[in-house]
Symmetry: C2
Subunit: 203 residues, 2 copies
Amino acid sequence: MLRYAAPIQKLIEQLQKLPGIGPKSAQRLAFFLLRSSPEDLQALGQAVLELKGEVRLCGQCYNYCTGELCPICDDPQRDAAIICVVEEASDLMALERAGEYQGLYHVLGGALSPVEDIKPSDLHITELIQRIKEDPPQEVILATSPTVEGDATAEYVRELIQILPDPPQITRIALGLPVGGDLDYADQVTLARALRGRAIMED
Amino acid sequence: MLRYAAPIQKLIEQLQKLPGIGPKSAQRLAFFLLRSSPEDLQALGQAVLELKGEVRLCGQCYNYCTGELCPICDDPQRDAAIICVVEEASDLMALERAGEYQGLYHVLGGALSPVEDIKPSDLHITELIQRIKEDPPQEVILATSPTVEGDATAEYVRELIQILPDPPQITRIALGLPVGGDLDYADQVTLARALRGRAIMED
């Protein structure tokens, strides 16, 4: 079968390795890049190549950063008495975008998953326990995703914190209907959780 | 607002320039790349950087290639008596994948579009006419897309070829129902075209 010119074929093969990008999208992206300016191409290629060189994990919370500590851990304005535990740095960014939270974070680097063979030792759980021991917070919010894996991870972490001497308060992020969501379209599990988590209305 | 570490932010911004990739996908891709091996990252970055260096346009049909002529124009087995005119090199590849066509191609590099300000001089139309004059084929198949732009382009090219002395036969790729498509789901315009283009059944 006829193939594209070698550099195009090579790029298409590399693009296909990315998540959510199949042969068709890879081809479309490659042809788009062929029509891009050399400057844009240079900028993208460099950004990919330089991604790993400078990026490291925050020494305290395991968020991505370029220095010793991430901008959040490094910010004296943040409330060090609360640690919010999330699976990924992208979850941290989602919470930051919400603009509600002023405490610190701890990024586990994933969730426990027998299927994907992710064990507690693959996550930054030991580091979280150590961190809580060294500088005890008042509260730890478990904000892993409400999935089977996220729930199991939250439960596992909760048990480990609970056995500490003088453990902090442990909370789980609220589960319920999404704002703007139609009750009619919500799945049964979400509806059940939303009912169970109902709160008294204040006036 | 908090931003990602600079190298991540830079990559996300570059990825967002790609077609069909919004802020969410760009972020997902960047985090995927952060978890990739340095070798994979290197391979992708290099593929992007080296894309333009080696790739040029075929001197005869304007397909992408690395040599003087593309593999199709360079193949003596192909029937030089037929030229199939397409908008993009990706259309050429789609036709090649169908495995039906044995002639040569001519890639226009797009379609006429007043909206996007694409004029005849932006496409390889003059070169097509010159090519037909120099080495007259028996047939020119106009295989631009059945869109407003593609139809207009086909009509424009047809008129230019028609006024040549001793013009070749000019054909348009068939329009009709897609194979495996449900008649019930076809749009009215396609159905009308399919009816108009009906062919006598042979036994």
